[in-house]
């Protein structure tokens, strides 16, 4: 279908754009310039690597008898490099603790609201 082709082109363009940005940052850091073809080559490689990652993630989730890919699957995908898997582990812990904080805030807010409701009732009773 033409839609799929157009969508692929759009995704490739998006990857190329961000890849270019990251490469420019590193170029500035290292004092070297990248040729346009190099950035295009890195973007294309990233695009294809993402396909490999996606199929791996799907296989891991299926192996765990799940339909939804979660952080554990991503940690497995990073297993080949120790540095990378440590980094992924740290990030996943950050995300998990951020979720925990959000839950705590919500609980505190509901408790606050309940207190306010009951206080309002007692005041009315006193009147």
């Amino acid at each position: 279908m033409d839609d799929t082709l157009a969508q692929t082109q759009r995704l490739k363009a998006a990857i190329h754009f961000t890849t270019g940005q990251i490469c420019q940052t590193i170029a500035a850091d290292c004092g070297r310039e990248f040729s346009r073809q190099t950035i295009a080559a890195i973007a294309e490689t990233t695009f294809r690597q993402c396909d490999t990652f996606a199929k791996d993630l799907e296989a891991f989730a299926r192996h765990a008898k799940r339909n939804t890919i979660n952080m554990d699957d991503v940690k497995l995908v990073s297993r080949r490099s120790t540095a990378l898997s440590t980094y992924v582990q740290e990030k996943s812990e950050e995300l998990a603790s951020a979720h925990q904080e959000q839950k705590e805030k919500r609980r505190k807010n509901t408790v606050k609201r309940k207190h306010q409701d009951t206080e309002g009732d007692t005041r009315q009773n006193e009147d």
């Binding site: 995704l11 070297r32 996606a54 993630l57 339909n67």
Partner: protein, 80 residues
């Protein structure tokens, strides 16, 4: 001191890209997994760039050319 702007892949882009490659219609990705994948892909691009720069430096090239990237590509893919 310039503030380093951190460029990242957009969650929406990566989510769509991953979903396109799935072989099963039922497969989905959790939001957190997408965030982590964005990080991994960013590291991939950074690693590819830095290795290419190193290769260019070793060969005393002015610019980082495709040839430099091609030489570091096999090891890069094996390491990931």
């Amino acid at each position: 001191m310039a503030d380093q702007v951190e460029y990242e892949f957009k969650k929406e882009t990566i989510s769509k890209l991953l979903t396109k490659s799935f072989t099963d219609n039922k497969t989905k990705v959790s939001g957190d997994a997408v965030i982590l994948m964005c990080e991994i892909l960013k590291v991939f691009v950074e690693e590819a760039s830095r290795r290419a720069v190193k290769q260019a430096t070793t060969e005393d090239g002015e610019q980082v050319d495709v040839e430099h990237f091609e030489k570091v590509l096999p090891q890069l893919l094996l390491d990931f």
